[in-house]
């Protein structure tokens, strides 16, 4: 199977994630969409690693996972704080700051 197909899937996942960020309201879902984008990138990395025949891409994918985990920690902390104070996880409710 042609490796480039994985790239197309990766791009598709990335796009889905990006669109999800824009269209979904729930902060958790938005965040998951971002994770989807990161994982799409990982898929690309691994694919390229395969194409190039070295391990750098795979190593980088591992780093990404670690970083994503860190992001989850920070992100959930923030989202929980917001949810506690607002009783809502909708990102549209948090729109005090504008213009």
């Amino acid at each position: 199977m042609d490796a480039s197909n994985y790239l197309y899937i990766s791009a598709l996942l990335f796009t889905i994630g990006a669109v999800g960020v824009v269209v979904r309201r729930n902060a958790i879902v938005v965040f998951m969409c971002i994770e989807l984008m990161l994982n799409a990138s990982n898929l690309s990395l691994v694919t390229f690693s395969r194409i190039n025949g070295d391990l750098d891409g795979q190593v980088m994918a591992f780093f990404t996972m670690v970083v994503a985990a860190c992001e989850v920690v920070v992100g959930l902390a923030i989202i929980v704080a917001i949810y506690r104070s607002r009783r809502s996880a909708s990102v549209d409710d948090a729109s005090l700051l504008k213009r």
């Binding site: 990006a18 669109v19 960020v21 824009v22 269209v23 979904r24 309201r25 938005v30 990102v91 549209d92 948090a94 729109s95 005090l96 700051l97 504008k98 213009r99």
Partner: protein
């Protein structure tokens, strides 16, 4: 040319007087008028001394000059502060300082009740100094300094009682109209420099032969504009009547004897230009002719004694301008009429001042009448002036005016006939309105109000009048005896085209002139002496009288053609400046501000739309890549 180092005193003395009186202020109130008079008199003395020196020198060395200092030297534009006293300017020097001194003396008494008398004398001295600079400057630019200097002095003196708004306006009007003339002088100087590379009289005279007639005509016409402004010639005549707002001695000195004749001086001084520019000369003559009729017609309708005299001045200067426009033959006669006019008109103005002095400053002749008994000296001196201006032999005017009429006829052809007849009719109208002035003022029944106590003026006032009256009687004879003035001025003028024989015998011209004068006198006599004169101006008068009373619509014309459009333009420009020019600037600011406000809308506070903006950016980048790749 003779170098003299004392010319500067002519100017320096009165200038010092003015400076002292103005700078030292009220401290000099007690003796300021005496100092000023002394300064003027000393200047007259210097003038006489210079005349004596000049007479001692052979004809070709008579002109004297003095270079004071380097004034403006830039590139080829080199003008020094230099003075030139020749046969022409000495005439003016003596007239200015002589009549000027008399008027100083007169004013001591006339202005004695004015608490600002010192200031008045300061202005008089300033005027004398400027006028002397005007006639002594050795280049057009030096003349220009004096030219505007007399304008300033005139402005100050007309507006001496500027607490009255009308007087302040009159002074402003005089200055502004003079400035229009000054602009002409500026143009003349610029053209002269651009075409000849020099602006000195000597330099221009030398260059005339190398210069095209077109350029010379342009210079000549511009000089004429200048002359018209200063000498109240058509079409810049309108300020003179209003200028009578100044104290009467001012009218006598500035607006009769001296300043207003500066235009004639300028044309005569520039004889070399005009001689080479016949078109310009013709225009000079036409302007002179129009003005002499214009002034005369206004004179017939004026009830204000000073304005009647002012109109007369305008008309008489028209004679001079006309003469000056007739070329070499006319210059001397223009000057002669200028000198005799200086005596008789100054005398009459002082007489008018004397009458006003006795009549609580009333100027309306309809409120006079029968003053002969109360002011005999004034009557006599005024009367002598009257005879002189009419041109009754052997009074001064006879000699000078007759010569002009003769020369006008001598111009030949249709031109000669038109000019001759114009001057003759002018003489007749002059006779009419001057007789009217005499009758309304001195004869008939008294028409003044009860609180007027006419009385003769003190000696300080009548003495100058008397002296001027002597001049009115004798100056004509003296100046023309053996063609004295003509010969005196002869070396200055170009006589290459010597004038031909008289076309009409002088005696015939004199006869015609006297006849015309007699007609004028008779009409006036029947109209005013044989009928009662009402103390208010009648309203049921012909359209011609109405127009003449309004100075032949000159002010209305100026208002309609210059003032109102000018005001409208000013208003429009101010509005434009606010709305368009500044508006454009503010508009740019507004656009920035409103686009800023509009763009704020992008920042709507929703994080999803922010992400969308980022996404749009990303898509744009991909699109750009797609464009690049495909």
């Amino acid at each position: 040319m003779f170098i003299s180092n004392t010319l500067v005193y002519l100017i320096a003395l009165p200038l010092a007087g003015a400076a002292i009186l103005l700078l030292a202020g009220r401290r000099t109130d007690k003796w300021g008028h005496l100092l000023a008079t002394a300064m003027s008199a000393s200047s007259f003395g210097v003038g006489l001394y210079q005349l004596m020196l000049m007479l001692d020198r052979p004809t070709e060395q008579r002109p004297a000059s003095q270079k004071l200092f380097e004034w403006i030297h830039v590139g080829e534009f080199k003008v020094d502060a230099g003075l030139l006293l020749d046969q022409l300017s000495i005439c003016f020097v003596l007239l200015i300082t002589g009549v000027g001194t008399l008027i100083h003396i007169y004013s001591i008494s006339y202005m004695s009740h004015d608490k600002d008398r010192r200031r008045f004398f300061a202005y008089l001295n300033l005027f004398i100094a400027s006028m002397l600079l005007l006639v002594l400057g050795d280049s057009y630019l030096n003349l220009y300094v004096g030219w505007e200097g007399v304008g300033l002095a005139s402005y100050l003196l007309i507006g001496f009682w500027n607490q009255k708004p009308a007087y302040a306006t009159a002074s402003k009007k005089a200055f502004v109209m003079n400035r229009v003339g000054d602009m002409g002088l500026s143009f003349a100087i610029m053209i002269a420099f651009a075409t000849m590379g020099t602006v000195s009289f000597v330099g221009v005279q030398e260059q005339v032969s190398q210069t095209s007639e077109a350029a010379l005509t342009a210079i000549g016409l511009m000089l004429l504009v200048a002359a018209a402004g200063k000498s109240a010639q058509f079409p810049l005549q309108a300020w003179l009547g209003d200028a009578m707002a100044g104290p009467t001695p001012v009218s006598a000195l500035i607006h009769a004897a001296t300043m207003v004749t500066a235009g004639v001086y300028l044309i005569t001084r520039s004889n070399f230009v005009f001689d080479a520019a016949p078109t310009a000369q013709l225009v000079v003559v036409i302007v002179g002719a129009i003005t002499l009729m214009f002034g005369a017609l206004i004179g017939t309708a004026k009830d204000d004694i000073k304005k009647a005299l002012a109109a007369s001045t305008m008309s008489q200067i028209g004679y001079m301008t006309l003469a000056a426009g007739l070329g070499p033959v006319g210059y001397a006669f223009a000057i002669m009429h200028l000198l005799t006019h200086g005596f008789f008109k100054a005398g009459m103005f002082l007489g008018a001042g004397s009458v006003m002095h006795g009549m609580n400053d009333e100027v309306n002749m309809r409120k006079y009448g029968a003053l002969r008994k109360f002011m005999p000296i004034t009557f006599v001196t005024f009367g002598l002036g009257y005879l002189a201006i009419l041109g009754i032999p052997p009074f001064a005017g006879f000699y000078s005016k007759d010569l002009i009429i003769e020369t006008a006829f001598d111009a030949g052809g249709a031109k000669g006939i038109i000019l001759g007849i114009t001057t003759l009719i002018g003489a007749s109208i002059t006779a009419f309105y001057m007789t009217r002035v005499m009758i309304l003022t001195f004869t008939g029944t008294k028409r003044w109000d009860g609180d007027a106590h006419p009385h003769e003026s003190p000696w300080l006032m009548w003495l100058p009048m008397a002296i001027l009256a002597i001049g009115s009687v004798s100056s004509g004879y003296l100046l023309s005896r053996g063609d004295a003035l003509e010969n005196w001025l002869y070396p200055l003028f170009d006589h290459s085209d010597e004038y031909q024989k008289h076309l009409i015998e002088p005696i015939i011209v004199s006869g015609m002139a006297l006849t015309m004068v007699a007609i004028g006198v008779a009409v006036a006599y029947f109209k005013y002496a044989r009928q009662d004169v009402s103390s208010t101006a009648p309203e049921d008068v012909s359209i011609f009288t109405k127009v003449a009373r309004q100075d032949l619509m000159q002010d209305r014309f100026n208002e309609a053609v210059f003032m109102r459009p000018g005001q409208a333009l000013t208003t429009t420009l101010i509005a434009t400046d606010q709305a368009v020019v500044d508006g454009a600037v503010r508009g740019v600011g507004q656009v920035a501000l409103s686009s800023g406000s509009a763009l704020r809308g992008l920042q709507n506070g929703y994080v999803r739309s922010y992400a969308a903006i980022i996404l749009v950016g990303a898509i744009a980048l991909i699109a750009a890549i797609w464009v690049v790749v495909s």
